[in-house]
Amino acid sequence: MKILDIAFKDITRSFRSVFAVLFMFVIPLLITGMFYVMFGGMKGSDTGFSLPQTNIVIANLDKGGAGFDTVMSQFPADANIQSLGDMVVYVLQQDNLADLMKVTLLDSAEAARSAVDTQEAGVAVIIPADFSANYSNLNGQAVLEVYQDPTLTLGPAIVRSVLNQFMDGISGTKIAVNEAVTQTGSSDPAFIGQVVESFLTATARTRDPAALLKVSSPAATETEEIPFLLRVIGPVMGGMMVFYAFYTGTASAETLLQEDEMGTLPRLFTTPTTQATILGGKLLAVLLTVTIQVAVLLTLGALIFGIHWGSLSSVLLFAAGTVVLASAFGVFVNSLMKSTKQGGIVFGGVLTFSGMIGLMPVFMFGSPSTTFDTISLIVPQGWAARGLFQSMQGATTGNLLLTLLVMLIWATVFFGIGVWRFQKRYA
């Protein structure tokens, strides 16, 4: 009974401390909230990332040139492509770019530039009248003019990127034709047509990234349905919870040293209460305080941010492991301290540093890195984070139990050393 009285007294004192409540609940939620705001809107309105659409005006003045039959055959018939300029327009008007750019055709270069000057458009693409002719001429140089709003960055950069890709493609064709004509001495249009067709056929695969990249994904799981925002926020919130659970464990266990300095611990030892009861009560308070913190943060994380922590059983396993490990770590760390004056070094140094190492995978935002994962496991926070990810990713109970087992081994060692040292100190 006395053990509960001591624990209850400690918990009451902890939750009356504004500082403790800030670190236990407010800061983890605040940091997660900041990430939430940075990465998107509120729950229910999440649509992922979107870039602003750029208004593009195109003045296609190209009067065409000879020898485009073969190239035109690469485009759909309804595209009605008569010149290289038409191809530029066709490329910029493709459906897959529609979210990024809105294309408007204008009759003159002046009108196009004027649209940018008046900020009606962000970018003007001016295709000169001799664009196709220069391209057809083996010694000519086809040049596009891009006129952009200097205050914009992303939109014009995307347009330039698309145009560069297009120009690289037609330059390659021209180089291939030049090379063939130089080597054979033939400038027969039929021959050039064959060269162009061969080049386009050979490079067709390279224009399609899908043909060069084998993109694969894990088998369909629940996480595929989780929006990007929550895939980022979940680990951040979990990471903050792990980070501050270890702070709470250490801060709660520090009350042993505080009470020793306040004189209340020696006074407790003058009452008819055994040392085991007193230490047991203090340690129970640490465990219960961290339990309350983790339970509240898990609940609030789910309610406020809509985070899916995993199945109930895996969440319970992960939470239990974290609570026990954070508490034991706190007892261990405090048993090494001579007084609370060393608290600054412990909180600012040991906990922050080990926390940062352990939570490195959290800030990879789901981009797995074996190196970071491995390094993170040299500190207890890394194992807690591992348990968190496993729970969130729907790992099997076997995998989660293995992580839990390692956490419990850590905890047993920390707790054993910590209690032994405290008993020795107060014997």
């Binding site: 009974m1 009356r16 209340t264 006074r267 003058t270 009452t271 008819p272 209460t273």
Partner: protein, 313 residues
């Protein structure tokens, strides 16, 4: 029926090379106020700590209401209330919450606990402020709660370790009155202090400690007899004490002369006869006496007589 509430037998405690308590023995009869008087560092708190079972003696033993501090610590703790030198309370809990918690630690529960907490709040005069957090209390109020905690389980023996250090005169008066009240309720009080006046006023018996040993033991009257009927004359001069120290020791009627912190203390049979001679000797040595104070024999004089130094911080 036990006659002695506390029997201390040859207690020793050393911290490294420092002998904090070196063979201390004394007895405290039931229902009396017993003072351990001595300067800071005399070993009073170490003695109390051993009697509270906070420190284990290197040698010796003590019985508190028949319970050995070595072999029956729970027995000792159950009959004991301890008022530590520093205030040992939870500032973030109210007075009532503090008393309730400590009451539970002494084994009180339920209605008995609630009723006793109310009684103690009444005794220490804090019923009206019971719900306020202790952190908001004045130093004197905290001292009262600090004492109240030790009274919760109606102990047979109370240790009070310098309970009046650093508080205002009014609170000090209240505490001294409450010590007498505890005695009147039949409790045995072991009181440590370095204030001679407190020991003199409160105690039935006094043990004077210095450098870990009991150097004198008895009632106030018995102790004063050690220095006989000598008067104590305290003087300050306008020069270095060395210029008159040896000359004064040779003055007829002077028993002892000591110098400390610019003040000279003379023990003499009759201050009326000795004082003119001190003035005369000073004048011969070119020294002028600037202040004079004469005191009847007291514990300060006893301590000075026994140790050659003043009983002060």
């Amino acid at each position: 029926m036990l006659q002695n509430a506390i029997e201390v037998k040859n207690l020793h405690k050393a911290f490294g090379d420092l002998k904090a308590v070196d063979g201390v023995s004394f007895e405290v009869a039931q229902g009396e106020i017993f003072s351990l008087l001595g300067p800071n560092g005399a070993g009073k708190t170490t003695t109390i700590s051993m009697l509270s079972c906070l420190l284990r003696p290197d040698e010796g033993d003590a019985l508190v209401m028949g319970h050995s501090i070595k072999d029956d610590q729970m027995g000792v703790k159950s009959v004991l209330g301890v008022v530590p030198q520093e205030i040992a309370l939870y500032n973030d809990l109210s007075a009532r919450e503090n008393l309730t918690f400590w009451g539970k630690m002494y084994g009180l529960r339920g209605p008995a606990l609630r009723s006793r907490v109310d009684e103690v709040l009444e005794i220490i005069g804090l019923t009206e402020r019971a719900k306020d957090r202790v952190g908001k209390y004045s130093g004197g109020m905290k001292r009262r709660v600090n004492i109240g905690v030790a009274l919760l389980h109606k102990p047979q023996v109370i240790y009070m370790d310098e309970p009046t250090v650093g508080i205002d005169p009014q609170s000090r008066r209240n505490i001294l009155d409450s010590v007498v009240a505890l005695k009147n309720q039949g409790m045995t009080v072991l009181y440590t202090t370095h204030y001679m006046e407190e020991a003199q006023e409160l105690s039935d018996h006094i043990a004077i400690m210095d450098i870990g040993k009991v150097i004198a033991y008895g009632t106030n009257a018995e102790l004063v007899k050690i220095v006989g009927q000598m008067d104590r004359i305290t003087l300050t001069i306008n020069a270095e004490s060395g210029r008159v120290l040896e000359a004064w020791k040779k003055v007829q009627g002077v028993k002892q002369v000591t110098a400390q912190d610019g003040t000279l203390t003379v023990l003499a049979d009759d201050s009326n006869q000795v004082l003119p001679r001190l003035f005369e000797t000073s004048a011969l040595n070119g020294v002028r006496i600037t202040t004079v104070a004469i005191q009847e024999p007291n514990l300060e004089a006893v301590f000075l007589h026994l140790t050659g130094k003043a009983l002060r911080d």
